[in-house]
């Protein structure tokens, strides 16, 4: 791995946002291709963070600060990617469903997806089915992600899927779901396209659904 790329990789894995920003800038100034910085620096480092989390070496705080570092680097890189018309791995609209204000799981999934090269449209929390539909119509994502922490709100995932069916747009987007009370069998029962038990696995699931795993 190129020294400048490995500096980006290490800055993100270490959760050092300031270093991530500087090393991405430095790599761009050295003429390294933006797509190489993205894939071998940012995406590879977040994949490593996901691996460290799955192996129990990293916990949620470590993931969060690595994701912040990745976002700091991405803020420098994004204008160059846009200028060079480099496409993301896919586009994801994501939100916590109506009635539910919990966002830590949804935020972690957003960050891991962004770290896997996806473009994210985050609708926040307490998102009504109509809002999800509006965002899907506007942004035309490949994937819609919905989260619920509460047993009292998980039924709103099902309600949103039903709303999409009623409006005839269900087949336009892959739907992935997650949250503490959600299981694979619930995802199957309500007709979601995928379920992931944690943020790291959500990124892998999204790639699989895009045929890129």
């Amino acid at each position: 791995m190129d020294t400048k790329i490995s500096e980006i990789f290490n800055a993100i894995v270490d959760g050092d946002a300031s270093a991530a920003k500087q090393t991405v800038q430095s790599a761009l100034e050295a003429g390294i291709d933006a797509e190489i910085i993205l894939n071998e620096g940012l995406v590879a480092s977040m994949k490593e963070v996901g691996r460290l989390f799955e192996e129990g070496e990293y916990f949620v705080p470590e993931m969060l600060i690595s994701a912040r570092a990745m976002q700091a680097g991405m803020n420098i890189l994004r204008p160059v990617l846009i200028e060079q018309d480099i496409k993301p791995s896919g586009k994801v609209v994501i939100g916590t469903v109506r009635g539910d204000l919990h966002d830590i799981g949804k935020n972690l999934v957003s960050m891991m997806l962004e770290g896997a090269g996806f473009q994210i449209v985050d609708l926040g929390t307490d998102v009504a089915p109509e809002k999800f539909l509006e965002a899907v119509t506007e942004h035309k994502p490949d994937i819609l992600g919905m989260s619920a922490l509460l047993t009292t709100t998980m039924s709103n995932i099902k309600a949103t899927i039903q709303y999409f069916e009623e409006k005839g747009v269900r087949k336009d987007v892959k739907i992935i779901i997650g949250g503490a009370p959600i299981t694979q069998s619930y995802a199957d029962e309500i007709g979601a396209d995928g379920f992931a038990p944690d943020a790291s696995q959500a990124a892998a699931l999204a790639k699989r659904l895009m045929g890129k795993a």
Binding site: F59, V60, E62, L64, G99, L101, D103, I104, N107, P181
Partner: protein, 328 residues
């Protein structure tokens, strides 16, 4: 220190079933969740209804982790049917933490919790009563923001410690009020600490829980430390808090944990409250409870329980299956 509640558990001939969750009692009384968390009468009625129906050997007040944060001035979202949630962040930096006043116990809904405990004690059935309180790191997270408090545990640990000092002072007062009310102890819920690394949990949770325990526990007052996110890797650091009884969630390998802690520490848990009690059926509850009893067989220092708070609208038949299976 061995307390009277600890002795009650260890001296029981059979396992003492102690599911966490008063909200199932609302299925019997017909009150709403909002009523139960704002009115001591509604809350105590739900707890007593569960006691009458299932002969519960311990009575627990509600696990409502917004009570203390609201008293600190956090905005709360409360609906009829949902356990209240904290909205937004009360403080965002060190200067705001410095200016944050430590509230008086009883100035908000801690009064409801304390009055509920007093009502249960006044019935004088001789049944142990435990109060429900939040743990220090989880309370700090609700005041500063959960994601943000997790992040500053690595980036600004001293800022987080300032907030933890304030919430610890407050929680010592709250536990003291429960003790003075006459309850046998409290269940202190510290779920957010389960998201930390073992080292982080030691620094930002156990160190402060330990201060609270050392300031409040007496031979007649225990602290049951609940952490529904902890895994086996966290166990040695959770033990540092010095609690007599540890209550864990579904991620904990209870059989292994019992082997590691020895006979002096009492463990409790850990059936999935949502997957088993809320979404399951009586047959599934029976099967999972049997598995739990098998995994913990021969350990008198184990209390069968849910791994966390049982959600509202969980079927009463599932609770019945849990009690019936334990009582054989």
């Amino acid at each position: 220190m061995r307390t009277s509640f600890g002795n009650f558990i260890l001296n029981s001939t059979n396992p003492v079933p102690m599911p966490i969750g008063i909200y199932a009692g609302l299925e019997i009384t017909g009150a709403s969740v909002r009523q139960s968390v704002t009115d001591a009468h509604a809350q105590s009625e739900a707890i007593l209804a569960l006691h009458e129906r299932f002969n519960t050997p311990v009575m627990l007040t509600a696990m409502d982790l917004s009570v203390e944060a609201e008293e600190f001035g956090c905005e709360i979202r409360m609906t009829e049917d949902e356990i209240p949630s904290v909205i937004g962040r009360k403080v965002t930096d060190l200067s705001e933490i410095d200016r944050l006043p430590v509230p008086m116990i009883g100035s908000g809904r801690t009064a409801v919790s304390l009055q509920t405990a007093q009502k249960l004690l006044s019935i004088d059935k001789g049944i142990p009563v435990l109060g429900g309180v939040i743990g220090p790191f989880s309370l700090a997270g609700r005041i500063f923001g959960v994601s943000e408090s997790l992040e500053i545990s690595l980036t600004e640990p001293d800022t987080l410690k300032k907030l933890l000092e304030k919430v610890t002072e407050y929680l010592i007062s709250y536990l003291t009020a429960f003790r003075e009310a006459g309850v046998q102890g409290v269940i202190m819920a510290e779920p957010t600490a389960g998201l930390l690394s073992p080292r982080g949990l030691s620094q930002f949770s156990s160190a402060y829980v330990k201060q609270i325990i050392e300031s409040t526990v007496t031979p007649d007052f225990t602290v049951v430390l609940h952490n529904c996110g902890a895994k086996l890797v966290h166990l040695p650091k959770v033990l540092e808090a010095g609690a007599e009884i540890l209550h864990f969630g579904a991620p904990m390998d209870i059989g292994q944990a019992l082997t590691q802690v020895g006979e002096d520490i009492i463990l409790s848990g850990n059936l999935d409250p949502t997957g088993v009690f809320h979404n399951g059926n009586p047959q599934e509850v029976t099967a999972r409870t049997r598995e739990l009893l098998q995994a913990t067989a021969g350990h008198r220092n184990f209390i069968p329980s849910s791994g966390c708070d049982i959600p509202p609208h969980s079927p009463l038949d599932n609770l019945a299956a849990f009690f019936d299976t334990i009582r054989g």
